[in-house]
């Protein structure tokens, strides 16, 4: 119980520290923390200027972790990401030069602007948590956490991530515009120079403890059943009885169930609870499911996006 409370305090401290620099965006901050504690990667989608990069930088500062940022461009090569063998004239040998992927927190900015082979290299690193340079495989740092961003507008000259690769992101977070009050606060802060460092509130050891706390959160079998029913409902495209499934061509993979299960535990920990309730599952479900369902023509014709369909599913599947 004490560990749960300590975990909640740590998480709250990290939230508060990031909020010193980032106004609002509570959902994004919680999503990022969820990803770190659940051990998953996150895809951030939002129009430019919503403090995506600032938030990730702030997170990296608050957590005692190394941080690298790569701007994905069309001429980026896999070697620019993972590293390459370079020739050392003094020794006459090829030595590995590790790329920016060797870090704890990697910000892959505008991931959809790099060609597929670069995306694949990154996604492989995300999945395998190791990269191969030359003949040698290198383990990536622990924790290894990729935050990829993409811009929903200006799609010309981009390389949209294929569904199989999208599935590797635990969460896809939509970054919303700030509220008018938050925007006023942003204006006030800009007027005053704020060149200050954030305090580190979560250290490497804390991350380990927090993950242990997440593992200690119990999930009742009825909650597990709810998670499975929710995910299966996305695949039940043959069943016309469920209103939302006619908008889905392909449903979520079992990875969705795993991530829902994990993220729901983290959400319970956010609240200082040692058990998951249906509310936890519902809160993380849109972030976990929105990039895992392929919408049908019918959804397009009715101008429904994946969030609308997930909302429909959530309002259809009975909670335990």
């Amino acid at each position: 119980m004490q560990q749960l409370e300590r975990s909640r305090e740590l998480i709250q401290a990290a939230r508060d520290e990031i909020s010193r620099r980032v106004v609002g965006q509570r959902e994004m901050i919680d999503g990022l923390l969820t990803g770190i504690l659940a051990g998953g990667h996150i895809l951030l989608e939002g129009v430019p200027g919503l403090a995506k990069t600032l938030t990730v930088r702030s997170l990296a500062e608050v957590i005692d972790a190394s941080f690298q940022r790569i701007q994905f461009t069309p001429d980026l090569l896999p070697a620019d990401l993972v590293g390459t063998m370079i020739y050392n004239q003094q020794t006459g040998e090829f030595v590995p030069r590790r790329g920016p992927v060797f870090t704890n927190i990697l910000l892959a900015d505008e991931i959809n602007r790099a060609p597929a082979k670069v995306q694949s290299a990154l996604l492989e690193a995300m999945e395998e948590r190791q990269v191969t340079i030359g003949d040698t495989s290198y383990e990536l740092a622990e924790p290894f956490f990729v935050l990829a961003t993409q811009n929903p507008i200006e799609q010309e000259g981009t390389y949209p991530l294929p569904e199989a690769q999208l599935d590797r992101f635990m969460l896809k977070l939509y970054v919303e515009y700030p509220t008018p009050d938050e925007e006023q606060e942003i204006l006030r802060r800009i007027g005053v120079p704020q060149e200050f460092d954030l305090n580190k509130t979560i250290f490497q050891a804390d991350i380990k403890k927090l993950r242990e706390s997440v593992d200690s959160v119990t999930v009742d079998e009825r909650i597990e059943d709810y998670i499975v029913r929710l995910v299966v409902a996305t695949r039940d495209v043959e069943n016309e009885g469920m209103g939302a499934t006619r908008y889905i061509d392909f449903g979520a993979s079992p990875r969705a169930s795993i991530f829902l299960h994990r993220c729901a535990r983290v959400r319970a920990l956010f609240e200082g609870r040692g058990y998951v309730i249906p509310e936890d599952v519902k809160r993380v479900a849109p972030d976990v499911l929105r990039h895992r369902i392929v919408l049908s023509y019918e959804a397009d014709s009715e101008e429904l996006d994946s969030d609308d369909v997930v909302t429909m599913l959530l309002s259809t599947v009975p909670v335990p």
């Binding site: 119990t218 009742d220 909650i223 058990y275 309730i277 509310e279 519902k282 009975p318 909670v319």
Partner: protein, 293 residues
């Protein structure tokens, strides 16, 4: 009527006064004295100075438009014969019967006065009229026609009211049905309170309440979490004190279901009572509910 009798006497006098050669008519009697069109009338004419053998009744009797002679009979009398002529007049007023040749003499100039139930005299014959109807036939036909005409009008004017009445009754029944069902099931659950463990008890209790609220309020409570419940109940117009009671039970139920919190018998019974009271309160407020019922 007196006038008609006078006329009949006058006709009789004229008849008596008419010459019949050597024979003389001494008496003419019409039976009945007063008769109407279509009546069978017998004229008894006593003729003196004639023997019965001298009388020859004609085989063919005169048949005019206004009168039909049906039979002529001659009877012997001490001072002569009595001629009985059975005829049926069809025209009102004073008329003279056609002369009848009786062999040795001719009986003529016998005037009769035919009465009519109609005041007008000398009317032409009425044309044939339609078949007579049974008494009450017109009334029945009129009633049936009125029903046929008024029924659609009645349905059209009162149909809306009848429909709304039926709808009110149906809605009232449907509104009460979830409550009745839940009450029955709560009673059964209460009876099993000692048999069930806390988790199973709250799973059943909260499922019943969810189903009741969904059916009664028309909102999707089945897929709502405890945290969403206050918002939905508030939107449905559930009073805040009732809302709080329901949410408290749900929050405790979540602890029992998902966090293995112990729930004693007294607590369970108290929560069941809370739910029952909340449901009674909701039932008493017809305005509560937002969705289709």
């Amino acid at each position: 009527m007196t006038g008609r009798v006078s006329l009949a006497c006058l006709a009789l006098a004229l008849a008596i006064a008419s010459p019949v050669a050597a024979q003389s008519v001494t008496q003419v009697t019409l039976l009945p004295a007063t008769y109407y069109i279509g009546d069978a009338v017998e004229a008894r004419v006593t003729v003196r100075g004639v023997a019965l053998d001298d009388v020859v009744v004609p085989e063919t009797l005169p048949d005019l438009e206004w009168v039909t002679m049906e039979e002529i009979v001659a009877l012997s009398r001490p001072d002569g014969v009595e001629i009985r002529i059975l005829f049926r007049p069809y025209f009102p007023g004073t008329r003279t019967l056609p002369p009848v040749d009786l062999g040795s003499f001719e009986l003529s100039g016998l005037s009769v006065f035919v009465s009519s139930v109609l005041e007008e005299e000398a009317r032409d014959l009425e044309p044939m009229r339609d078949q007579l109807l049974l008494p009450g036939t017109r009334l029945i036909v009129t009633i049936l026609a009125a029903i046929l005409v008024l029924l659609p009008v009645t349905i059209a004017t009162t149909g809306g009211f009848a429909r709304s009445l039926v709808e009110r009754i149906r809605r009232g029944y449907r509104e009460r049905m979830p409550f009745r069902r839940m009450s029955r099931q709560l009673k059964q659950l209460d009876a099993r309170v000692h048999e069930l463990d806390g988790r199973t008890y709250y799973i059943e209790l909260l499922s019943l309440v969810r189903l009741y609220l969904q059916q009664r309020l028309g909102i999707s409570i089945l897929s709502s979490t405890t945290a969403e419940l206050p918002r939905f109940l508030s939107a449905a117009g559930v009073p805040s004190e009732v809302r709080e009671r329901i949410v408290e039970v749900f929050q405790f139920g979540d602890l029992v279901k998902f966090a293995s919190r112990h729930a004693g018998i007294e607590t369970r019974k108290a929560h069941l009572t809370e739910i029952r009271n909340a449901a009674v309160r909701i039932q008493k407020e017809p305005s509560i509910g937002v969705g289709p019922r």
